[in-house]
């Protein structure tokens, strides 16, 4: 039954990569939310033509917010059924579950 095994391994491999995304996503959001807006021209110091309109800033933040929510939702759908399997692996330390 090599075919079945191949399938299982692929799936657990995918799941681990999904866990990687779960770990990385907050860092990505931090960059997009915390770092990017600090690069925008600021009305307290800049010339008026280079100012960022507030609506642009709002659209940007809401878009990232929405994408982040969709991403975490999708991740939850992908890994929610496998939590128990993961926890019961013989060496259940996060490190060895890479």
């Amino acid at each position: 039954m090599p075919k079945t095994r191949l399938f299982l391994e692929r799936r657990s491999y995918r799941r681990r990569r999904m866990m990687d995304v779960v770990r990385i996503l907050p860092l990505l959001c931090t960059v997009l939310w915390l770092v990017v807006p600090t690069m925008w021209p600021n009305s307290t110091e800049g010339v008026s033509e280079t100012q960022t309109p507030l609506s642009t800033a709002i659209w940007y933040l809401i878009t990232i917010w929405g994408l982040a929510i969709i991403a975490t939702f999708a991740l939850w759908r992908r890994i929610r059924n496998h939590d128990e399997e993961d926890e019961s692996s013989p060496f259940g330390t996060p490190r060895s579950r890479w």
């Binding site: 866990m19 779960v22 770990r23 996503l25 907050p26 860092l27 959001c29 931090t30 939310w33 915390l34 770092v35 807006p37 600090t38 925008w40 021209p41 600021n42 009305s43 307290t44 100012q51 960022t52 309109p53 507030l54 609506s55 642009t56 800033a57 709002i58 933040l61 809401i62 917010w65 929405g66 982040a68 929510i69 969709i70 975490t72 939702f73 939850w76 890994i79 929610r80 939590d83 060496f91 259940g92 330390t93 996060p94 060895s96």
Partner: protein, 904 residues
């Protein structure tokens, strides 16, 4: 216009509704029903929304009207924490569940060796930090009531008639919390009434804010694009947040989200199922997004339609009112009311647990002369302590509100409160990620962080000559310029909030780290540290620390009955006894049992108190070095186990390889054996056939002449000789191959052996062969079996005589020394051995197709066996003319030579 009486009526109905919902939820839970709703991820997520208080509901709009998009940082921080649930929250929730943690103070104290000093510090800091926040909620309710009470009141100043509102709201909240917050002592058991009421209020405030937002966008502004145009045209229409504030506020709100006692209460303590956390990881950011979606539109429209000087904190109310939308205004009021009440209820609950567990109970334990062993129900003491704490905290909030005169923008108070509780973060994160964090370090970090926060954030918020004299603002404390509260260490130009957050958190972290590094933890701290940091490896195992004598069981029973209640305690003891396999007897006070009991008690009175209580009965915690090592090295053991497994599996793989190699070899041997047998049969059959035929002729043929008879008989004779030789050779080879040969080793001279071999070979053959030798080089002494070596040489010389196809056959025997070896080369001038046959010449029955040889093809095979046995080597080396067999022998001392011999 809504009258004040109508408003109060609606409020009372709403509050009555909340009481009813809470009551129904408690009753349903008591009957063991409704778990699908009470324990659903939806309710969990909604209960998290107590993060959004009246500060959010009113204050966010005011904040946006003052400083644009900066308000959103307060929601981005928590969203980040939720999206990053895997890193921190998952760990916190697991620790909270594994150690039956009752509050953030309990967690920190339990981590650092169940230190009550730390618990008291954290509790005190939380009370100081959260009290202004509770005052803020009361203030927001008062302000919103005032809007309805005095019709001209866009200014938002509360009249005399509404001052009492704060009191009545405080009293109502106190009653609600008393009724539904202290029903059960075990803080880990969910307060279903409270949780469900909070969830309902979460829906109410979201719906109210969304309704106002929808009204403003589509009712007042006239659509999305018009709203966007108005936003960009408004005074806050450009991005004006300073970079420092933007980052600092996101970090601050993220820290506060984890550390706020009320957030810890709903997120960790009341968590029912770890999987709910992942659902909340997308659901709660969604809630926050929905809450902040319409904040800027409401602020912008408010700035447009409301007169200058109107309090922007109340735009959510005053904008619908100014447009004549009384119903919507009422809904908005309920939204604000519910945000305020739910926050106060949960915050009070969390703080009262901390106060009663970490301040009142330890005091009572110390002051009560008989300790915990006196008779009577301690539960009533704990519950009374908790109720007292609730009243105390709400009173503090009320007094703060009266004392501060309801001044200050909402957002400012909120941020100050955030800054206070964020000081727990280094100790909290350090405690759950770093085993090196120590109690002393945590105390040092918390103290400096709290002091800096007080000095740079809380006290200056009262203004010059408020809490600090104006001279301190200008010249610094004691006249030291370096200690000015808004420019510590002479660094000016920072925004006051950024300044305070930066200095308090960085000094806190630095000191926590440095002191931790240079202090040494007690055994209990190290034990707890290992358990907290490795919570995912340890959650099932419990640290053993108690060594109780049999006599302690009775006392333990008495004490737990008084804390857990008689039926609960008896059930717990019976369960434990059953686990120990004792029926009808109390459980033996094994370390495991005492540990379980301590956890059970900790869920009611906190880790430090439970530890102290059990300590009073059992008399000191005995943690042996072995226990410590056992726990600390558990991960090491797992690692070792896995590496052992790895070695085993590698060994298995190797064995499998060896087996398959052996199998291949066996198969080859079997094939060789088969081919050997068939060769033998073939070799035997040929002479046998001729012997049989000629003997039959001799027997049956009449009238054979004498010469014929002689000829046939001599054929038979020569065939038998050939057979005998073949059998001799086979026997010889078999003996050699099986290693059964006994070698007669002695000192011999190579010259003698070659001489003997040449003579013998020449004598047995009719063919002439010219042999060239250099006798002087042959004078080499060897320690070997001379007869066997001579046999090899005879074979080689005979082969040359037989097979050399030159017209004048010449054999050159050359001896040369190489290092420790002597090489004897037999080179003839024939055509040599064809390249394709070279690899075969030493195999059994390998006869080259030419010639008339009578050998069986075993000669060279025997030679190779003999030379190998003698510790040497024989090879065929092709030459320009002819071929050369080289015999390589070691010319060593007798001792060494005997070592080199292959085992016999």
């Amino acid at each position: 216009m809504v009258t004040l009486n109508q408003l109060i009526g609606v409020c009372l109905v709403y509050v009555a509704g909340l009481f009813l919902v809470a009551f129904l939820a408690e009753r349903t839970a008591l009957r063991g029903r409704g778990g699908w709703l009470l324990r659903s991820p939806l309710v969990y997520t909604l209960s998290l929304s107590i993060y959004c208080t009246a500060w959010t509901f009113y204050g966010a709009v005011g904040y946006a009207a003052r400083s644009g998009l900066e308000f959103v940082t307060i929601y981005l921080g928590p969203s980040l924490v939720m999206i990053g649930w895997w890193w921190v929250l998952r760990r916190l929730v697991r620790i909270g569940r594994a150690h039956r943690v009752t509050s953030v103070a309990d967690l920190i104290s339990a981590r650092f060796g169940k230190s009550n000093l730390l618990a008291v510090m954290v509790t005190a800091m939380a009370v100081v930090g959260v009290t202004p926040y509770i005052a803020l909620q009361l203030q927001s309710v008062t302000l919103s009531v005032a809007i309805f009470a005095t019709p001209d009141l866009a200014s938002g100043r509360g009249g005399q008639s509404t001052d009492n509102a704060a009191f009545w709201v405080a009293a109502g909240l106190a009653i609600f919390t008393l009724v539904f917050g202290t029903r059960n002592l075990n803080a880990n058991e969910r307060h279903h009434g409270v949780v469900i009421a909070v969830a309902v209020e979460a829906v109410v405030k979201l719906v109210a804010l969304l309704a106002v937002g929808v009204f403003v966008v589509w009712g007042v502004a006239g659509g999305v694009s018009e709203t966007v145009a108005r936003i960009d045209a408004s005074p806050i229409g450009t991005w004006q947040t300073s970079d420092g504030r933007w980052s600092a506020l996101i970090v601050l709100s993220a820290a506060a989200f984890v550390c706020l006692p009320r957030m810890f209460q709903v997120m960790v303590v009341e968590n029912d199922d770890e999987r709910h956390l992942q659902i909340a990881s997308w659901a709660f950011p969604l809630y926050l997004l929905a809450i902040s979606l319409f904040v800027v539109p409401i602020a912008v429209i408010g700035l447009e339609v409301m007169p200058i000087g109107a309090n922007p904190d109340l735009y959510v109310l005053t904008v619908p009112l100014s447009q004549g939308q009384n119903g919507l205004a009422m809904l908005a009021f309920l939204g604000g009311f519910s945000s305020a009440t739910s926050m106060v209820i949960v915050a009070t609950l969390a703080l009262s647990t901390m106060m009663s567990n970490h301040i009142v109970m330890p005091l009572w334990l110390k002051l009560s002369p008989l300790g915990v062993q006196q008779s009577g129900d301690v539960r009533s003491v704990v519950i009374r302590a908790r109720r007292l704490s609730i009243i105390l905290i709400i009173s503090l909030g009320y007094l703060y509100y009266r004392g501060s005169g309801g001044s200050g923008a909402l957002a400012a108070i909120g941020l100050i409160s955030f800054g206070g509780v964020a000081q727990f973060l280094p100790a909290l994160l350090g405690g759950i990620f770093w085993r090196g964090a120590t109690r002393t370090g945590a105390i040092a970090g918390l103290s400096i962080g709290f002091i800096v926060w007080m000095y740079t954030m809380l006290l200056p918020s009262f203004g010059p000559d408020g809490a600090l004299p104006a001279s301190v603002f200008e010249q610094g404390l004691f006249g030291w310029g370096l200690l000015r509260p808004e420019a510590l260490f002479g660094i000016t130009g920072l925004d006051a909030t950024v300044h305070a957050v930066w200095w308090s958190l960085s000094l806190n972290t630095l000191l926590f780290f440095l002191v931790s590094i240079f202090s040494f933890p007690t055994p209990l701290e190290r034990l707890q540290g290992a358990q907290f940091v490795n919570v995912f490896d340890h959650s099932s195992s419990s640290a053993r620390g108690w060594s109780a004598s049999e006599g302690g069981a009775e006392d333990l029973m008495i004490m737990s009955q008084r804390i857990l209640g008689a039926p609960e305690a008896q059930a717990f003891f019976a369960r434990q006894a059953l686990q120990q396999g004792r029926v009808g007897a109390p459980p033996a006070p094994t370390p495991e049992f005492v540990q379980a009991l301590e956890r059970e008690l900790a869920a009611s009175v906190g880790a430090a108190t439970a530890n102290a209580m059990i300590g009073q009965i059992i008399g000191g915690q005995a943690i042996s070095v072995e226990d410590l090592l056992a726990v600390a090295d558990e991960s090491a053991q797992i690692l070792e186990y896995s590496s052992r497994l790895e070695v085993k599996s590698r060994q298995l793989t190797e064995t499998a390889h060896e087996l398959s190699r052996a199998n291949k070899k066996l198969t080859q041997l079997s094939l060789q054996k088969d081919s050997f047998l068939s060769q033998i049969s073939h070799e035997l059959r040929t002479p046998m056939t001729s012997i049989r035929s000629f003997s039959e002729i001799l027997r049956d043929m009449e009238g054979l002449s004498g010469s014929e008879k002689t000829r046939y008989a001599s054929i038979i004779h020569s065939e038998t000789i050939r057979l005998t030789r073949l059998l001799d050779d086979l026997l010889d080879l078999s003996v050699l191959e099986n290693g059964q040969v006994s070698l007669n080793q002695q000192p011999v001279n190579l010259h003698t052996i070659i001489e003997q071999a040449v003579t013998t070979a020449k004598a047995s053959s009719a063919r002439q062969l010219e042999i060239h030798r250099r006798k002087r080089s042959e004078d080499v002494d060897l320690f070997t079996d001379g007869d066997r070596l001579a046999q090899v040489f005879i074979n080689l010389v005979t082969n040359a005589i037989k097979y050399c196809d030159a017209s004048v056959p010449v054999l050159n025997i050359a001896v040369r020394r190489q290092d420790n070896e002597v090489i004897v080369a037999f080179t003839d001038n024939g055509s040599g051995i064809p390249a394709e046959a070279e690899s075969l010449v030493f195999e059994k029955f390998a006869r080259l197709g030419r010639g008339d040889g009578d050998g069986a093809g075993l000669g060279l095979a025997i030679c190779r066996e003999i030379v190998t046995r003698l510790g040497g080597d024989i090879t065929y080396v092709p030459q320009d003319i002819g071929g050369s067999f080289e015999v390589r022998m070691n010319c060593t001392t007798p001792e060494k030579q005997s070592q080199r011999l292959l085992p016999v």
